[in-house]
């Protein structure tokens, strides 16, 4: 019993992959866009987020830059995983674009770019 | 000697964790693990591992914490090999571990 229960978990893994993989072209395209969302969307989101944080944090310049930059990887990986955990791809894109947009507007207002 | 003490504590902790598992206990002692034994193994394991961590951090700070991570890796590797390939040695190794622990403990206290 002991060993069976262990087997159940991992052996699921490639089966799913395999089943899904052989599904269709549209599935592949959606996977591709998910990766695009995770890598590029996540990157842009993180960049804007940490830039904003660097300005907002009540620390001196150097400290806020060092701290936010150091934490960037953490934010990036959270977004990355979140992209794959959410079911609908549309929601992923909308959320990323919206949040990034809002943060960017705030950032621009503070910096006086607009 | 301090390092040896920390490592043997860490090793003992993981050994206890391993023995607190039904299959490993049965392989070593050919008996069934009772609940009471399981709890005492787990308690000893947690106490020793915390002791090892505290000793490492107290004696070397951040460097000690790094060392502690290394001790954990080494202990788990050794125990994995021990339990998968040479279960019959577990008893002897445990006794050896205990005596090294006591020896290093004494020498740390004396010097």
């Amino acid at each position: 019993m002991h060993s069976q229960s262990i087997d159940a978990v991992p052996s699921q893994r490639p089966k799913n992959v395999f089943k899904k993989r052989s599904v269709s072209i549209s599935y592949r395209i959606s996977v591709f866009f998910r990766f695009v969302a995770a890598i590029f969307g996540g990157y842009v989101f993180t960049s804007v987020l940490i830039s904003l944080l660097a300005i907002l944090l009540p620390l001196n310049q150097l400290d806020s830059v060092l701290l936010t930059t150091t934490l960037s990887v953490f934010f990036y990986s959270c977004v990355f995983i979140w992209v794959f955990a959410v079911k609908s791809l549309k929601r992923v894109w909308i959320t990323i674009l919206l949040t990034t947009g809002v943060q960017f507007v705030i950032l621009s207002l503070i910096k006086g770019w607009l | 000697m301090m390092e040896l003490l920390q490592f043997s504590l860490c090793f003992m902790a993981f050994n206890c964790f391993a023995l607190a598992k039904f299959n490993h206990f049965r392989e070593v002692f050919k008996k069934k693990l009772t609940d009471k034994q399981r709890h005492s193994f787990l308690a000893t394991g947690w106490i020793t591992i915390l002791l090892s961590l505290v000793l490492s951090v107290l004696s070397e700070g951040g460097y000690g914490a790094l060392l502690f991570c290394g001790y954990m890796a080494l202990s788990v590797l050794m125990l994995m090999i021990l339990y998968s390939f040479t279960v019959s040695w577990v008893k002897h190794i445990s006794i050896l571990n205990l005596s090294i622990l006591l020896l290093s403990c004494f020498s740390v206290m004396i010097f």
Binding site: V9, Q12, P14, K20, T69, T70, I81 | L67, C69, G70
Partner: protein
């Protein structure tokens, strides 16, 4: 919903792992070896093996700096940069060097180095031209032949994927600590799974730490934006503020004599009485703009940029001091680099780092192999393997067996290539890549079990050849190192003997496995215990 989450995480774990696993293996492999970078470089320069560690290292530092400066004044009074490296526990040599005038089109000036015996201050014949351990160090983030920037971006992407794979791996493996000590032998892909789990779990804190901090070392290339938004002049301004010690000053042409080094050293020793000086750099000596920077070894503190002092070389005035009043975030950032590089490690911690690094290599290797095995087991008897599966199998053999092969060949090349060869260091590296190419060709021909076996024998052969060739081409050998207690050299040779024995074990295992006509598929024991340093 929960079930779905686990599924998507499993899926993600498999794919982010696989997309970059070969690149990751290269990074981990080269990175693990570069924990012993200095030791390997020492092995690679047998001309310096006669030098022994000096007694009272610290007490002699003042005299050594003075002596080197005196020599440099005689040899290169108008060079733009002098560097003095004092002996340290990992490297007994005492070295000074000066920059040659920059040629047009050169990005960095070439340095002429002089090696000294620390006990006698006698000059040692310049060692052979070689990159040694530094090659592996650069390889693990510059990937050698590729353009440096592209390579670093690739490495960063791969590390990010690694981090994602680690996190999802922890999420999906629900029983992660439950069967920590179980390894089921001879059970086909299940054994591979166990090996994969054990190698990841046993050094999990290390894996996460090394991947995260690895990204941090290159983070200002990936995310320069906070610095660019906060500082008007961007990164450069931030770096100048972060380490005033390294801030560049325009060099002036006004001559001004260099102050006595004793005035500078007196200030250093007043500030920190038991200073252990690592390097001593002088820029624009004998000019008004002259700067002297003194870097202290960090010891066991978890900091990368330890205490350092910047003096004016013409007046002897202390201009800046580093490491005194660091804020929490600066310390946080700096300790991450320190954790990654492991320069602080004493031999014990260094070996533990190395062990964890090997566990990382084993984790990646078993992951790659497991995936290929799974796909193969799923094939129906009459079904042909697809292009994808074939590619994966070829890449597995080429990378997992090719890198140890190339490494051992690199070590042998160092001893066998003629000493007077032009661009010798590059030729050694060429040998590394040629050997790897050879193994790749072998893998392209076929990636069957027989081919793995052949690769294992070849690897065992080159691994055993290293100490043998070393014994034939240099004064010392494995036994004499043991007798004269040259532990560094002994460990390199011994490491290759161990690696060779493991490859023999693997070859034997493969032979018995391929003889057995059974449903069990077994390819390679989990030991990808590669070279060591």
């Amino acid at each position: 919903m929960k079930e779905n989450f686990f599924r998507s995480m499993t899926w993600l774990h498999t794919w982010v792992g696989l997309l970059v696993c070969w690149l990751l293996f290269l990074i981990f492999f080269a990175g693990t070896i570069s924990f012993f970078k200095d030791e390997i470089t020492y092995w690679f320069e047998p001309e310096t093996h006669t030098v022994t560690h000096q007694d009272n290292r610290l007490a002699k530092q003042r005299q050594q700096i003075n002596y080197a400066v005196e020599q440099l004044q005689n040899k290169a009074a108008d060079s733009s940069s002098w560097r003095i490296y004092l002996p340290e526990p990992r490297n007994p040599l005492y070295t000074y060097s000066y920059a040659e005038p920059k040629q047009s089109g050169q990005r960095r000036a070439k340095f002429t180095e002089t090696y000294l015996d620390p006990t006698t201050n006698e000059q040692i014949a310049p060692p052979r031209e070689t990159k040694g351990g530094y090659f592996f160090y650069r390889l693990h983030f510059d990937l050698h032949y590729i353009d440096v920037r592209t390579a670093r971006w690739l490495v960063c992407l791969a590390s990010l994927f690694m981090l994602i794979a680690l996190i999802t791996g922890v999420v999906i493996h629900k029983r992660i600590f439950k069967d920590m000590f179980s390894f089921r032998k001879n059970k086909g892909s299940r054994s591979w799974l166990d090996a994969h789990n054990v190698s990841s779990v046993l050094a999990l804190p290390f894996h996460i730490m090394i991947t995260y901090t690895g990204l941090i070392t290159l983070i200002f290339m990936v995310f320069p934006y906070p610095a660019q938004t906060v500082y008007e002049k961007g990164l450069q301004q931030m770096f100048n503020e972060a380490s005033p010690i390294r801030a560049r000053v325009e060099s002036s042409d006004v001559p001004a004599p260099l102050v006595s080094m004793n005035t500078i050293l007196d200030q250093v020793y007043t500030k920190s009485p038991d200073a252990d000086i690592g390097f001593f750099f002088i820029r624009d000596a004998n000019k008004e703009s002259s700067r002297v920077s003194v870097y202290l070894n960090t010891g066991k503190e978890v900091v990368d940029n330890g205490a350092a002092f910047l003096f004016s070389g013409s007046t002897g005035e202390l201009l800046a001091e580093q490491g005194k009043d660091w804020s929490a975030s600066a310390r946080f950032y700096d300790s991450m680099t320190a954790l990654h590089a492991g320069r602080l490690a004493s031999p014990l911690l260094r070996w533990l780092y190395f062990l964890c690094g090997i566990a990382g290599c084993a984790m990646i290797a078993t992951g790659c192999i497991m995936w290929a095995k799974r796909l193969r087991e799923r094939l129906k008897p009459q079904q042909q393997a697809g292009v994808g599966l074939k590619l994966v199998e070829t890449l597995n053999l080429a990378t997992l067996m090719g890198l140890p092969f190339a490494t051992a060949s690199f070590f042998i090349a160092n001893r066998l290539l003629p000493l007077e060869m032009v661009a010798r260091a590059d030729k050694e590296i060429l040998v590394f890549f040629l050997a790897w190419l050879a193994m790749t060709v072998l893998a392209i021909i076929s990636s069957s079990k027989r081919q793995w076996q052949l690769a294992a024998w070849l690897n065992a052969l080159v691994c055993f050849a290293v100490p043998l060739v070393n014994a034939m081409t240099t004064e010392g050998n494995w036994i004499s190192y043991l007798l004269t207690q040259k532990w560094t050299l002994f460990c390199v040779d011994f490491g290759f003997i161990i690696a060779g024995s493991l490859f023999i074990l693997q070859g034997k295992k493969l032979r018995t496995a391929s003889k057995k006509v059974s449903t069990r598929r077994f390819q390679k024991p989990k030991d990808l215990k590669e070279q060591q340093g």
